[in-house]
Amino acid sequence: MVFPPTSQYKEGGMVLLSRSEVNVFVFFGVLFVVLGILSPNFLDLFNLSNLTRQISLYAIIAAGETMVMTSGGIDLSVGSVLALSGVLAAMLNAMGNNYMVISVGIGAGILCGLGNGFLVSKLRINPFIVTLGMLNIARGVVLVITKGFPIPVYRGALLTLGQGSILGIPILFLFMGVVGMIMALILGRTRFGTHLKAIGSNEPAAWAMGINVPRVKLLTYTLSGLLAGLAGLLLAGRLSAGQANAGVGWELDAIAAVIIGGTSLMGGEGSVVGSLVGAALLGVIRNALVLFGVSMYWQTVVIGCILIGGIALGSIREIRKVGY
């Protein structure tokens, strides 16, 4: 054995945030301050609480999407699942049992997620295809149920959850905080989270090392469905209605938030906290564009540019390593 003896290993404190997360945080902070200075309406309490509510919903589904994308998959169905859950909850809400409303809403999300997970893990169908299918199925079911009309929510826990506040903090925001914390713990501090990353990094190796790959994948998609269901409930409460077109295109916003937050599209690396900040960033930018009177149509263009620009910054760093 001729290798020189090893002297020192780096063993510093726990790293709280990775570099990509820090980048989003810094960008978010700067943007927040700049907007506060430029637009007096931005820091208005009404605007902020409205903004917080909107961001919270994006962030909840982005948290689920983070798990799926870290495992190397993708979930395109979250927007539709969210609508399905919201509509079912709104319908049941008329009957008045809060527990049933909540469990059916979340249950619908879990079922859709289980379906996705089963098809991806057991039948080994590409997740892009499976969840694209589920996107259409869930939206179709919503349209069949509602015939396109909104289902009003007049009373009950749904309204409180969607519109209430505790000590001035919107309940939606508290939900996001709890969900974000749990998901961050799961991804960063549990065996399940580690296995998720391992699968995203090298799936055959994960199997070879004794990870139950199908089970982990099934759980991951179920988790994403559950969170989409939860977001659907909350959105129905917030809007006082289960709407057939709720959450159209949200899956793409969630994916954008996840990627801006530093989760790798290739899988294996993911950050829930980054995704939450990514969602907040998207929300704040949208809000700013509204405050500055930019037309709805241009807003989409700007969001697209920011997505590409943000990722470009990351990949410019990579170019030096690759060499071409």
């Binding site: 290798f3 780096k10 391992a198 990094s201 990870i211 790798s264």
Partner: protein
């Protein structure tokens, strides 16, 4: 002589009988049978496509056989997954190393065997143990928080081997698929030395290698596969490289 002595004295720690495996219409294994005894290094040889990797992937639980039986310490076992095989004391160092490039050294070492308390990973405890394992292996790895893909080839080999040998108790059987491929002379010697050390510790080893010098250096016995069939079995002392090559190529001498 020696082979006969081995067979009479000891019961095999592992025996495979009539392993059969199809990949679509291609029959990769046509009834492979052999025994592995305690404290021996068995070399599994054959040309490309002979069925070596398929054989060891069945023993490690990665692939399910289409026919045949596996006996571990005399008892018939059917491995449902690599987890099952690992829990029975069979560790494998795969040819491609089966590492997770974007994950750090500690995670790679402990994958599937994470230390947990109340459902939470004990990262510090695992990092401490990682540090000890790396010292034991005398690698040049500088930081255990490094992504494995940033390590050199030799360092990656060290992680893959360390994971199988030093984490989660001593294995009964260690399977090594091309453990010296792509390594420099010094690093190869290190691996061969480790194989001898492990055999002394009582671990039975199945070794696949294309390098016959390495095989003759450490193996006690050699079995040769050709087109999915076992075509020869020799004690290393009673044969030579040219005979083994002839067996592999299917030319009689």
């Amino acid at each position: 002589m020696r082979r006969a002595a081995l067979m009479e004295e000891k019961t095999p720690i592992l025996e495979v009988r009539n392993l059969v495996k199809f990949f679509g219409g291609v029959q990769a294994l046509r009834g492979v049978s052999f025994k592995l005894f305690p404290r021996e290094v068995l070399a599994l040889l054959g040309d490309n496509g002979a069925g070596k990797s398929t054989t060891i992937k069945i023993i490690s639980g990665y692939l399910k056989p289409d026919g045949g039986e596996i006996f571990l310490e005399g008892k018939r076992v059917i491995f449902s997954s690599p987890l099952h095989a690992r829990s029975m004391g069979i560790e494998t160092v795969y040819q491609d190393l089966a590492l997770f490039g974007v994950l750090d050294v500690t995670t790679n070492l402990f994958i599937g065997r994470e230390t947990c308390q109340l459902g939470m990973l004990q990262k510090r405890a695992m990092e401490r143990e990682t540090w000890q394992i790396l010292q034991k292996m005398r690698t040049t790895i500088k930081s255990i928080r490094q992504k494995v893909q940033t390590l050199s080839g030799g360092q990656q080999h060290a992680v893959a081997i360390g994971r199988s040998v030093y984490v989660g108790g001593v294995p009964k059987i260690l399977i090594m698929d091309e453990p010296t491929a792509g390594l420099g002379i010094e690093e190869s010697q290190k691996v061969l030395e480790l194989i001898r050390e492990l055999r002394e510790k009582g671990i039975a080893i199945i070794l696949i290698s294309h390098n016959l010098e390495h095989v003759f250096c450490v193996a006690n016995r050699i079995v040769v596969l050709r087109s999915g069939e076992l075509v020869g079995e020799r004690c290393t002392e009673e044969t030579n490289q040219s005979e083994v090559v002839h067996l592999m190529m299917g030319v009689t001498c």
